[in-house]
C-alpha cells in the first residue's frame, strides 16, 4: 500500500516540484495552498505524512500543526516542516506545537527522501 503525503506550501513551484519527486518515488500526494486549505484534507482519509512550509497566508505552519494535533485521527501523524536558516525561532515554535522533524530549504531531493524514510515506513 503506497503512502500518502500531504504537501502544504503557498508556492506553486515548490508544490509542483515536491509532487513530481514524491510521485516518482511511489508516494501519493495531496496538496494544500496554505494551512486553511490543508485542513480540508483532514477529513478522515489516510494521510501518512504532512510536509508543510512555515510561513503561509491565512493559516501558517504552526497553526496547521496545532490543528493536526487537535484532530483525533491525525494526532500522531508525522509532520515535517520546511525551514530556512533565518527561521530558527519559528522552527522551535513548530517543534513545541508538535512537529516531528524538519528539512532545510532549498530542498535537495535525495535528502528529503532520506528524511521521509526516517519517519514513515
Amino acid at each position: 500500500m503506497s503512502k500518502t503525503i500531504l504537501i502544504v506550501d503557498d508556492s506553486e513551484s515548490i508544490r509542483e516540484l515536491l509532487r513530481l519527486q514524491l510521485e516518482l518515488h511511489g508516494y501519493k500526494v495531496l496538496k494544500g495552498v496554505d494551512g486553511q486549505d490543508a485542513v480540508h484534507h483532514l477529513n478522515g482519509q489516510k494521510i501518512d505524512l504532512v510536509i508543510t512550509d512555515l510561513i503561509m497566508p491565512r493559516m501558517d505552519g504552526v497553526g496547521l500543526i496545532l490543528e493536526i494535533r487537535k484532530n483525533d485521527k491525525y494526532a500522531f501523524t508525522p509532520v515535517l516542516v520546511l525551514t530556512t536558516e533565518s527561521q530558527a525561532a519559528k522552527k522551535e515554535e513548530a517543534k513545541v506545537a508538535g512537529a516531528t522533524g524538519w528539512i532545510g530549504k532549498p530542498i535537495v531531493t535525495e535528502k528529503l527522501l532520506e528524511v521521509i524514510k526516517k519517519i514513515i515506513r
Partner: protein, 680 residues
C-alpha cells in the same frame, strides 16, 4: 612490457609515499615499532618488484635501506635523526631513479654513489647516538575504515509519539548502522491501570559495532535529541560483535527490569570475548581495509564527459517527453532523469580527493625548510578529510606550497626570538580545511610575527604603488601584497622574497574560481584563507527567463520565489522590496543586464541567501528546475562578472549561469575604487 613497467612505477610511487608518511610519523614517535615494521615491509616489497622489472639500481639502494630498518626492528640498531634524514634523501633519490633507472643523468649518478656510501656506512655502524627530537610533525592519519564498538543508552520521553515520532524506527536505524544488539529495559512501565496507550515507556541499551562515526549515530536522533536521554560511549576498537558467542551472550540476558549501564555491558562483553582490545583512541588496529582499485585519470575524465553528455541529452528527452501526450514516455523520461542524477553524483564523488593527499607533501616541505632555516615548527592539520575535485587539488598545490614557504621564511620567528617575545620556542602552522555552504575553505594559520603594516605601506610607496600621504584601510594595505613585484623581504632568501610570489598565488587561485584573503595581527600571527567553489561541473539550478534569454540560478542559494508586480520593482525606493513581511534588497536583473523592452506585468522575485546575506533577484519568468552541465564561457569573457559559466539547454540554446555570490556582493559591499597616483 611497457604496460607492466608503468604499473610497477605507479606502485613504486605509492610505496615510496607510504614510507614517507611512516617516516614523518616516526619522527614524532621514534619508538613506534609498528612504524619500523611497516617501513621495512614496504622497502622489502619495493626491492622485490624493482628487481623483477629490471630496476636494479632501485633494488640495490632499497636493499641497503631495508637492512638498516631490519636491524632496527630486530633491536640491533637504534633509530636516529641521521638515519631518518638519510632515508628521506634516499626516498627522494629513489623517485628520481624510477624515472631514470640507468642513471643517464649525471647528477643522479653522482648522487647515487654518495648516497649509497652514506647508507652503507649507517648499515655497518652498530650504535647510533640517540638524537634529540627532530622537528616535531603531527601524524598523518592513514585513512582506512575502522570499526568501533559503542554503547548506546536511549530513553525517549513518554510524550514522544505526540510529535509523530516512532521510537522503534530510531532503534531500527541504529541496528542498520552495523552489527548491533538491542536490549530493552522496562523500569518505567507503570501498572496496567496507569498505562496510557499513547505514551512511550521503554528504553533501550544497544551495543553497536560500526564503521560509521559518532556523528552518524547522533544523526539518527537528530529530531529528538533534545528531548531524549541519550548516551553514546565508545567501548572498544574493532568489531566486538563479530564473534557470535558475544551476541548470543548479550541476547541471552534475562533481566530486563532496568538498564544495566555501560560498565556491566562491558563486563558481559569481556567475559565472552577475551580478545577485547581496549584503547582510549578509536584508531584501532582491527581495521577493515576499504577495497579499492586503481583507475587511470583519463578514464575518470572520460567518464565525467560521458556523464555530462548524458545529462544534456536527458534534458532534451525531458523536453520531448513534456511535449508528447504519452504518459509512458513521461514516466520513462522521469526515470532517466532520476538515474542520471544519481549517476552524476556517483561519478563526481569518484573525482573527489581528500585534502589529506597533499598533506604529506606539505609536511615534507615544512620539515625540510624549517630544518634548513633552523626554525622549530610544528605542522598541524585539521579537517583534512575534506574532499575537493581532483583537478582543483592539482592546481592548489603550488599556491599552498608558496604560502607555506612564506610562512616559514617570514612568518615564524627563530626560536630565540620567539622566546624573547614570550612565545613558545616552537611555532605552529595549522592547515585547516572545511566546508562552508557551497564552498571549501582552506586556511593556513601561523602564530608567527604577523605582517608589519607599516613596512607594507613604506614598500608600496617606494614602489610607486600608492601616493606618499595616502590613507589606506588595513584591508587595502594587505591587498597591496597581492600586487605583482611586491615583496617586503629585506634580503632575498633563496626561498621566497623574490617578489614573484603573492600575485601568482592570487592568480592561480582565481584560475580555479577561488578567492584568497589575508588577516594578520602584528606579533601574533597571520591567517591566509582560500575560498573555493565546490567545482561540481554539474549543478542543480533554477531555470529562469528574462525576455528571450535563459539564466540558471544555482539551487543551493535559492530560498523562495515570489510573484511581484513589476511596477513595484521599477518604482521601488532605494531598491528594497517587501517579501513575506521582510524588507530585502533586490536586483532588477533587467536593469543589470540592459534588457529594457517589454517587461511583463508580473515579475518573479527569487529570494537567494548566501553567507547570511539575503537578496531578491527579479526575472520575468521561472521555468523550472534544471540539471545544468556547466560549460566555461571561455577566455574572451574572462572579465565577466555576473556569469560564472553557461549551459546547453534541451532545445540546444545556451543559458547563462549566474554567479549569485558576485551579484549579492554588489549590493552589500560598496568599496570605493582605489585611486592610485604614481609617485613622481
Amino acid at each position: 612490457m611497457d604496460n607492466l613497467k608503468a604499473i610497477f612505477m605507479a606502485e613504486a610511487a605509492e610505496l615510496i609515499a607510504d614510507i614517507e608518511r611512516a617516516l614523518l610519523q616516526l619522527e614524532q614517535d621514534q619508538q613506534n615499532k609498528e612504524g619500523i615494521q611497516s617501513i621495512f615491509r614496504a622497502m622489502h616489497t619495493l626491492k622485490g618488484s624493482a628487481s623483477m622489472f629490471g630496476f636494479d639500481t632501485v633494488s640495490t639502494l632499497t636493499h641497503h635501506l631495508e637492512s638498516i630498518y631490519e636491524s632496527i626492528r630486530d633491536g640491533k640498531n637504534q633509530l636516529s635523526t641521521t638515519i631518518l634524514s638519510t632515508t628521506f634523501k634516499g626516498l627522494d633519490h629513489l623517485q628520481k631513479l624510477i624515472d631514470d633507472p640507468t642513471m643517464e643523468n649525471e647528477g643522479v649518478q653522482q648522487n647515487h654513489a654518495l648516497l649509497l656510501k652514506e647508507i652503507i656506512n649507517l648499515e655497518q655502524e652498530q650504535h647510533q647516538d640517540i638524537a634529540k627530537n627532530g622537528v616535531a610533525l603531527l601524524t598523518v592519519p592513514v585513512s582506512v575504515e575502522e570499526v568501533t564498538t559503542y554503547y548506546i543508552y536511549f530513553l525517549p520521553p513518554s510524550t514522544i509519539a505526540h510529535n509523530g515520532t516512532n521510537a522503534l524506527y530510531l532503534v531500527e536505524d541504529l541496528l542498520n548502522l552495523g552489527d548491533a544488539v538491542a536490549i530493552p529495559f522496562f523500569n518505567n512501565l507503570p501498572s496496567f491501570e496507569e498505562l496510557a496507550p499513547d505514551a512511550s515507556y521503554i528504553g533501550f541499551e544497544l551495543v553497536l559495532s560500526t564503521s560509521k562515526t559518532e556523528k552518524d549515530i547522533r544523526d539518527v536522533f537528530m529530531f529528538v535529541e533534545g528531548e531524549c536521554e541519550l548516551t553514546i560511549v565508545k567501548i572498544a576498537a574493532g568489531n566486538v560483535l563479530a564473534d557470535q558467542a558475544v551476541q548470543t551472550k548479550l541476547l541471552g540476558e534475562q533481566n530486563l527490569d532496568a538498564p544495566k549501564g555501560v560498565e556491566k555491558i562491558k563486563d558481559i562483553l569481556t567475559a565472552s570475548a577475551p580478545a577485547l582490545a581496549q584503547s582510549s583512541q578509536a584508531t584501532g588496529k582491527a581495521a577493515q581495509a576499504v577495497s579499492s582499485i586503481r583507475v587511470s585519470s583519463e578514464r575518470l575524465d572520460e567518464l565525467m564527459n560521458l556523464v555530462s553528455e548524458l545529462v544534456t541529452t536527458q534534458a532534451r528527452l525531458s523536453l520531448f517527453a513534456g511535449q508528447e501526450t504519452s504518459n509512458e514516455v513521461a514516466t520513462i523520461a522521469e526515470n532517466v532523469e532520476k538515474i542520471t542524477r544519481r549517476l552524476r553524483d556517483n561519478a563526481f564523488s569518484m573525482c573527489l580527493i581528500p585534502v589529506e593527499n597533499l598533506v604529506v607533501r606539505f609536511s615534507r616541505l615544512v620539515r625540510d625548510l624549517s630544518t634548513e632555516l633552523k626554525k622549530d615548527i610544528s605542522f598541524k592539520t585539521e579537517g583534512t578529510d575534506t574532499e575537493i575535485d581532483k583537478s582543483v587539488i592539482e592546481k592548489l598545490t603550488d599556491p599552498i606550497l608558496h604560502l607555506l614557504r612564506n610562512c616559514i621564511d617570514h612568518g615564524i620567528e627563530l626560536p630565540a626570538e620567539r622566546r624573547k617575545k614570550g612565545k613558545p620556542a616552537q611555532g605552529t602552522i595549522l592547515l585547516k580545511s572545511y566546508y562552508s555552504g557551497a564552498n571549501v575553505i582552506i586556511q593556513i594559520i601561523d602564530d608567527g610575527a604577523g605582517i608589519d603594516l607599516g613596512k607594507v605601506k613604506k614598500k608600496a610607496i617606494s614602489r610607486g604603488l600608492i601616493a606618499e600621504g595616502a590613507e589606506l584601510s588595513e584591508k587595502e594595505l594587505l591587498d597591496l601584497i597581492f600586487l605583482p613585484g611586491f615583496s617586503t623581504a629585506d634580503q632575498l632568501t633563496g626561498v621566497s622574497g623574490r617578489g614573484v610570489g603573492m600575485d601568482v598565488v592570487k592568480r592561480n587561485i582565481a584560475d580555479i574560481r577561488g578567492e584568497i584573503e589575508l588577516n594578520t595581527k602584528a606579533g601574533e600571527g597571520t591567517t591566509f584563507t582560500i575560498k573555493l567553489p565546490l567545482t561540481l561541473s554539474i549543478i542543480d539550478g533554477l531555470l529562469v527567463r528574462i525576455k528571450e534569454t535563459d539564466f540558471i540560478i544555482p539551487l543551493v542559494v535559492v530560498d523562495k520565489c515570489y510573484e511581484v508586480e513589476t511596477t513595484l520593482l521599477t518604482q521601488a525606493f532605494n531598491q528594497w522590496v517587501t517579501l513575506d513581511g521582510e524588507r530585502i534588497p533586490f536586483l532588477f536583473l533587467r536593469n543589470e543586464f540592459s534588457i529594457y523592452e517589454n517587461p511583463p506585468v508580473l515579475s518573479q522575485v527569487i529570494k537567494v541567501a548566501y553567507e547570511g546575506r539575503v537578496i531578491g533577484l527579479a526575472v520575468d519568468r521561472i521555468i523550472g528546475q534544471y540539471q545544468a552541465v556547466l560549460k566555461p564561457l571561455g577566455q574572451l569573457y574572462h572579465n565577466q562578472n555576473e556569469c560564472s559559466g553557461a549551459t546547453i539547454l534541451g532545445d540546444g540554446s545556451v543559458a547563462l549561469v549566474l554567479d549569485t555570490a558576485k551579484l549579492i556582493n554588489k549590493l552589500f559591499i560598496k568599496t570605493k575604487p582605489m585611486e592610485y597616483e604614481p609617485a613622481n
